[in-house]
């Protein structure tokens, strides 16, 4: 059980001691790595005669760009960098277990923070695109009676985001530990490919997919452009 706990690494001695959890420290490490990588990759970009590094980088970001703009529409373009950051961060957090760290997303406080930010962003997107009155009115859509449910969604949406991510990462972690206990040889790396890598990226994808979906809903009008091809619901139920 000790492995499942998120230890408090140290305590900042103000306001009666603020505990800094392991997840936050690992997040700092991830931030450091990502920032160094970003500075290294973001240098010396050229318009023509690109290096292979830049081509890879551009195709990666082009892919993310298309994905998020396809979900949120042209109006959602301003939120794409944030979504990119989140998908990179969650993706990294989910697979960092491979390197011997505890995944920050295994800590419910981190996923809660992420989900909270997502719902705040959704509301900001609503206010920015519909105006404050339009945002308030959007709670009474499609008819006035559903307003309480719409208000409830303010809690339900982030809660589901938070719990899905947390539960999946924790579940994958527990299963991996069990497999390691039962079959310590050969099996763990094979299952690790699925539970650590594949599931890690899938969860990052699902989190960002749903957040983008909520944003496009909040922006309104362009709901028809949302592709129905890949439904995250199936992935959830599957787990």
């Amino acid at each position: 059980m000790e492995e499942l706990n998120c230890e408090t690494v140290f305590t900042i001695p103000i306001f009666g001691g603020i505990g800094v959890s392991e997840a936050v420290v690992v997040t700092w490490i991830i931030m450091g790595v990502l920032t160094v990588a970003a500075i290294f990759l973001g240098r010396n970009l050229t318009i023509d005669n690109c290096s292979k590094k830049q081509l890879l980088l551009e195709s990666f970001f082009g892919m993310l760009d298309n994905f998020f703009i396809g979900l949120m529409g042209k109006k959602g373009k301003r939120y794409v960098p944030y979504m990119m950051t989140i998908i990179i961060y969650i993706g990294f957090s989910n697979i960092i277990g491979i390197f011997g760290f505890k995944s920050p997303t295994k800590d419910v406080r981190v996923t809660a923070g992420l989900a909270f930010m997502s719902i705040v962003l959704v509301q900001i997107a609503g206010i920015q695109n519909r105006g404050f009155k339009g945002w308030l009115k959007s709670f009474a859509e499609p008819i006035f009676i559903v307003a309480p449910i719409n208000v409830l969604e303010l809690i339900i949406k982030p809660l589901s985001l938070c719990m899905r991510l947390y539960g999946n990462v924790l579940g994958a972690f527990i299963i991996m530990k069990l497999i390691e206990l039962v079959v310590p040889l050969v099996a763990p790396p094979i299952f690790s490919i699925y539970f650590d890598l594949f599931d890690g990226f899938i969860q990052a994808y699902v989190f960002c997919f749903l957040t983008s979906l909520y944003i496009s809903e909040a922006i309104g009008e362009e709901e028809e452009t949302i592709p129905k091809a890949s439904s995250p619901g199936q992935i959830e139920e599957h787990k």
Partner: protein
């Protein structure tokens, strides 16, 4: 295991926000701006190519119009030249005809003058011969025989004097 203390949520939020700004500054921003610049460059060169194409088409139509007008002009010039040549030809021919006519009339006049002169000469020589004959008649005998011989002499003399003259 499942604790929801606020401080770590706030830490997460702050961390993610910081990460967002760092990513945007160092990675997403530069990559995006480069991609946009390239997009603009491509669009610019497309527009430039389109513009040049239009320009070339316009020039082409201008040249075609010019060629047509040049052909017209050439035909005009040839027609003018032909007309001028015809005029010149006619003029020359006319002047030649005039000249030859003039020469002919002059020649004719001269011939008639010479004829006149020849007639005058013949007459004058006839007169002198008549005179000589008269002298001979007066000098010789006045009988029929001599008259005849004198007449024959006269004829012979005249014939010797002018072979071409006959009666």
């Amino acid at each position: 295991m499942f604790t929801l203390e606020l401080s770590n949520i706030i830490f997460t939020v702050v961390n993610v926000l910081i990460l967002y700004f760092l990513m945007r500054k160092f990675l997403i921003g530069p990559v995006r701006s480069i991609m946009e610049q390239r997009q603009q460059m491509i669009e610019g060169s497309f527009a430039e190519a389109q513009r040049k194409n239009d320009e070339a088409n316009e020039l082409k139509s201008q040249y075609e119009a010019k060629i047509v007008s040049a052909e017209d002009e050439a035909q005009q010039i040839v027609a003018d030249a032909r007309e001028k040549a015809n005029d010149e030809y006619n003029r020359r021919v006319n002047s030649a005809i005039n000249y030859s006519n003039r020469i002919r009339t002059e020649a004719r006049e001269r011939i008639s003058a010479e004829e006149e002169q020849a007639k005058k000469d013949v007459l004058s020589s006839v007169a002198s011969l008549a005179m000589a004959a008269a002298v001979k008649v007066a000098g010789g005998k006045n009988d029929a025989l001599t008259d005849e011989s004198i007449y024959d002499d006269f004829i012979r003399e005249v014939s010797a004097q002018d072979g071409t003259t006959s009666y």
